[in-house]
């Protein structure tokens, strides 16, 4: 037991989880922003925007995340020389955040759209009838209700996002959990089960509250009709 704790400290397991939490935090913010814009495109009355929104969702949702992450490093950085930070490791961190964000934005968009479907069409008609045009009625009437109807599906996207941050390993973020776990197992194969369960249980502890909170919020914030 003493030796196990030494290994955990030696490889900085908590630090590794902290990297994934940071990846998840920034990717959650960015994908929420991008996903909201995409949702706005998809419900807008303008055909070309609808088309752009659904094309984005179709392509990104159906591309494996690993491929997107590898592209961020080999394509966006390696070929296109996209640099997001001067520090080498920090650059990979932000490339991973962008990769996670553009991928999960597609799912955020669909979650918000399912929220829009919980808003009766009469709400939009009433907004239009008092003279609000598309953007104000979306901002003031439709989206506030849609977000509250989308909390549970958005919670599911966040859960997937947190776990998917481990794919950042494919974007050369070497300090995150799955990379650290592999290194640990490589050097201490005698503790393989303990190491494996440490990370598995770590994620269960990290993700469970998200599910509980989103269920409770979706009940508490539900729009009474």
């Amino acid at each position: 037991m003493e030796e196990y704790l030494d290994i955990v400290r030696q490889y900085d397991v908590l630090g590794a989880f902290w990297v994934n939490i940071q990846l998840a935090f920034w990717a959650a913010l960015l994908s929420l922003a991008l996903g909201s814009v995409l949702a706005l495109f998809r419900i807008s009355p303008i055909g070309s925007l609808q088309w752009a929104g659904s094309a984005y969702v179709t392509i990104l949702r159906n591309t494996p995340l690993t491929i997107i992450m590898v592209f961020m490093v080999l394509g966006a950085w390696g070929q296109l020389e996209l640099t997001l930070a001067t520090d080498f490791d920090l650059n990979f961190f932000w490339l991973a955040v962008v990769g996670l964000s553009i991928y999960h934005a597609a799912f955020v968009c669909e979650a918000i759209r399912s929220g829009v479907n919980t808003v009766p069409v009469g709400q939009a008609e009433a907004a239009r009838s008092i003279g609000l045009s598309f953007l104000p009625s979306a901002r003031l009437v439709i989206l506030p209700q849609a977000f509250r109807g989308a909390i549970a599906p958005l919670g599911n996207v966040l859960i997937a996002l947190i776990k998917n941050t481990t794919v950042a390993a494919a974007a050369s973020v070497a300090t995150e959990t799955s990379s650290v776990m592999r290194t640990m197992i490589e050097f201490r194969p005698d503790y393989i089960y303990a190491i494996f369960f440490t990370f598995a249980i770590g994620y269960v502890i990290l993700v469970t509250p998200v599910g509980l909170l989103s269920t409770s919020f979706s009940r508490r914030l539900a729009v009474a009709r």
Partner: protein, 266 residues
């Protein structure tokens, strides 16, 4: 009464006194609309004058709700012209929004903004469309809520109110925009019977105060008391247009006679 030289329909009845009515405000010209193969509005020509209360009645599926919704373009039309106060209804965009702000609409299902308080429901349009300050909009909203008798509910959310109260808030929300004309799309059809009168009372009061109103309803009592003119629709057409007196006592068309016999026997 002797009205020599008039059409037969005028023989038995004096022409309606329309001296209180102003210039044409809502004009529909040769309006046609299809839902797929269904011709829901067939060559509709209709003029509503300033201060007039027009009641549209007819069996369900006759196109009367569609007609009402077409006037502020919640339904598009396939051909014809609709103009409000001399301005043709724009197809879309900012100008359409501006014109809609001048046309109040009260829905069958109330459609109050479910995530906003009663007060915020009434102030949203004045603040965001008319650019009123919060305090001005709220003062006006409270005055209007008082007028429709629900001022004490101002801080509540729509779901906490009865249907009749919600519909009166919806009327206040429309009034807050100072509309030139108000459309009522079956405003009492979703209400429990004991709440219908509280809404009709508010509407009658509005009519008395000279509001131009187009009311789609099954409330014949309201039509008798408040309407200047009744339009009877069936199968997407205007079958009959008359004063309430004339329409209810001497309907000319078989469709109208049939309809009235079905609803007035009980």
């Amino acid at each position: 009464m002797d009205h020599s030289g008039t059409t037969p329909a005028d023989d038995q009845h004096p022409p309606a006194d329309d001296s209180h009515l102003g210039a044409p405000l809502v004009e529909l010209e040769a309006v046609d609309k299809y839902f797929g193969d269904l011709h829901v509005l067939q060559d509709i020509n209709l003029t509503v004058r300033r201060g007039e209360v027009l009641v549209v009645i007819g069996p369900s599926g006759s196109g009367k709700s569609t007609l009402c919704r077409a006037i502020n373009r919640l339904e598009t039309i396939d051909s014809g012209d609709i103009s409000i106060d001399g301005q043709p209804m724009p197809a879309e965009g900012r100008q359409l929004a501006r014109l809609r702000a001048d046309v109040g609409m009260v829905f069958q299902a109330f459609n109050l903004f479910a995530h906003k308080t009663v007060l915020d429901n009434v102030t949203l349009g004045p603040r965001k469309v008319r650019g009123l300050s919060k305090s001005d909009a709220e003062a006006e909203a409270l005055r209007l809520l008082d007028r429709v008798g629900v001022k004490n509910q101002a801080a509540k959310f729509p779901a906490q109110l009865s249907g009749g109260q919600q519909q009166r808030v919806a009327i206040a929300r429309s009034l807050a925009m100072h509309p030139k004309v108000m459309l009522f799309d079956e405003p009492t059809s979703a209400l429990d019977p004991e709440m219908i009168n509280e809404v009709l009372d508010v509407m009658e009061q509005l009519a008395k105060e000279g509001m131009t109103m187009i009311v789609v309803t099954h409330e014949m009592g309201f039509a008798r008391k408040a309407a200047d003119r009744v339009v009877f629709m069936a199968d997407g057409q205007i079958v009959e247009e008359a004063t309430p007196e004339e329409f209810f006592h001497h309907p000319r068309s078989d469709r109208a006679k049939d309809f009235l016999s079905k609803i007035l026997t009980h």
